[in-house]
Subunit: 367 residues, 2 copies
């Protein structure tokens, strides 16, 4: 038996058992002991990403009086990081935690639910999911994989990355060796850069030795932990390639459908609450970490020139159009995303942009 | 017996009964039928505010398998809108829904937990509550009233208001008759304006007849429903006076403490989830309503001049300092708020502001 077939059989069996339990005992469902496993794509203890998954499991357990018990495994503890999609899809385990752009190889459309270069920020993605058609489209995209997705976190606007070469025009990307995965990498390549896929643990050394000229990571909190400020000259902003990266939980559909309604709602509530909690924590901690980077480590914070942003934006939209043209579901999601971004775009200019313009004069780098 | 004493006794009795139940039957608590009443400050069916309270009650009921049942009453159905704080404080009912600035007369510090002119926006307030010391300070502020507060919604950045006089300099506020309650009103008065407190139902007529020159309300969605575009020349932005107004749920402390832990966590999760859902809905619907106001009703959208904003900001911070100087808790909360706004301020400039700058060129009023 192939490993894949084995996983499929095991998954189907578990799901059927769960469904039978759910149907046969409706009156005591709320007190039904249910044990789930969640496999994440994160290293142990990674702030907000791994700890957020663990916090979510704890809340669900508290709400269910200990009856709905989700044991969380970090990447590699049960399956490799990028094996989690498959493991949940096959029913080997019931739940996973990741970011949808990891699954571009399964479905190119998945990328739109994590981070779109020059796309929506954290509140924009939330508006698309819960005030628009975003979550419905995501469910549709994951349905062929027997998965139910839920937004369960957001990093906020990421940073543009750590550079040892200065970016003064779009031409400065030509030949630039940068660690930047996903759609951002595709845009960089279009601008003439060389995408280097370096595992997290090797980035620091590669940057130090000049194997790469630049790397993106997350934001001040996580970047500080990685120590990039010790080996890079410039810290660029904004993170045009990931303006509000969504973290996800995904559930095996049969396992989710077999849950008592009470537990389904608990899961949904806990995921949305985690979205809010994670974004809040990122914003608070990134603020503190950025201050430390500036005042204690004298990091050279540099803004990408406006015309570089305009040209990367053009390349980004070309990239998205190209991917969308090659895959039916990606085409559908891309069209919906563009329409929604237009709907909230002018409102963002009138509300949040105007707010930040007014506030930045008081609370700014200038003092 | 005075009405107040009667309410106090009734409240204490109910709480003691609830506490006794909680202590005597720990094993079946999760299945314990609990009936609560929630009194809101909102008119029936008011989108997001009243409907959000009702949605929250529904979710809690679903999570508890129908056992934790919160019946929601709109303003006036059980107690008057502004009687809800007292009714929950006294234990007449267990829960309320409002905005903390309504209770400035009870505790001036309460205002910082709803909307601070030139203060934090929706994600900033969330960061203060869940990533900083904001919620702890709010609990401390409400504790003397026997209340437990929870953030449970946000309108996002509001609009500056509907004007029949053009604002080209700070002097144009002199003698301006405007409907603008709360801290915003205090700032307007400092600028020489006349604050007119008009109930919601009379604003339209007062604006039409010139009894007032201007009014603020919420944002495009709610403003459209009020029809102000029919009787006002200019629609100003941004809503400097309410950059991210927080809606609240508050619970009678004895009733909350007497709940089984399961139900406490359900309430907390549902409130935070509602914060996220409401902000998302506001952003999506405000975007659509603004487009309709511009394209179908040819509303004249005008931005407050930058120097007017700078001068109002100065007056706003003076106003806050004055209130903080007169009340111990307000002083403590104000100091913490200022510190936190500084912590996230530079980060906001580098992340969200830089993002909106880049995006606004593509999605903007200019088309």
């Amino acid at each position: 038996m192939k490993r894949r077939d084995f996983l499929k059989k095991a998954g189907a069996g578990a799901a059927v058992a769960a469904a039978a339990t759910a149907v046969s005992a409706p009156a005591v469902l709320a007190k039904k002991k249910i044990k789930w496993k969640m496999v994440t794509t994160w290293p142990p203890k990674l702030p907000y990403l791994q700890t957020g998954a663990e916090r979510l499991a704890k809340r669900v357990k508290e709400m269910s009086g200990g009856e709905f018990d989700i044991k969380v495994y970090a990447a590699g503890e049960l399956v490799p990081a990028f094996g989690s999609f498959e493991a949940v899809s096959n029913g080997t385990v019931q739940a996973g935690s990741g970011a949808a752009y990891y699954w571009a190889g399964k479905s190119p459309a998945a990328q739109w639910f994590a981070a779109v270069p020059f796309g929506l920020n954290a509140v924009g993605m939330a508006a698309w999911f819960w005030g628009g058609d975003g979550l419905k489209l995501w469910e549709e995209t994951y349905a062929p994989f027997n998965l139910v997705p839920r937004p369960a976190g957001n990093t906020g606007v990421q940073m543009g990355g750590w550079f040892n070469k200065k970016i003064e025009s779009i031409n400065d990307f030509k030949g630039l060796k940068m660690r930047i995965p996903g759609l951002g990498g595709k845009v960089l390549a279009k601008a003439g850069g060389t995408v280097v896929l370096t595992p997290g643990g090797e980035i620091f050394t590669n940057l130090e030795r000049g194997v790469i000229d630049a790397t993106e990571w997350v934001g001040p909190l996580h970047d500080y932990i990685m120590g990039f400020y010790k080996v890079a000259k410039y810290y660029y902003y904004p993170g045009w390639h990931e303006p509000g990266t969504v973290l996800e939980n995904f559930f095996n559909k049969k396992a989710y459908d077999a849950l008592p309604k009470e537990y389904q709602v608990m899961l949904d509530m806990a995921c949305a609450e985690t979205y809010n909690w994670m974004l809040s924590g990122f914003n608070a901690d990134n603020g503190a970490a950025l201050e430390k980077l500036i005042t204690q480590h004298h990091v050279n914070l540099v803004r990408f020139p406006a015309d570089v942003m305009a040209q990367l934006r053009k390349l980004a939209y070309e990239t998205l159009d190209e991917i969308a043209a090659k895959d039916k579901q990606a085409g559908k999601v891309h069209a919906a995303f563009k329409k929604f971004q237009k709907q909230v775009g002018v409102w963002g200019e009138v509300s949040e942009k105007a707010y930040y313009d007014v506030i930045a004069e008081k609370f700014s780098l200038k003092g």
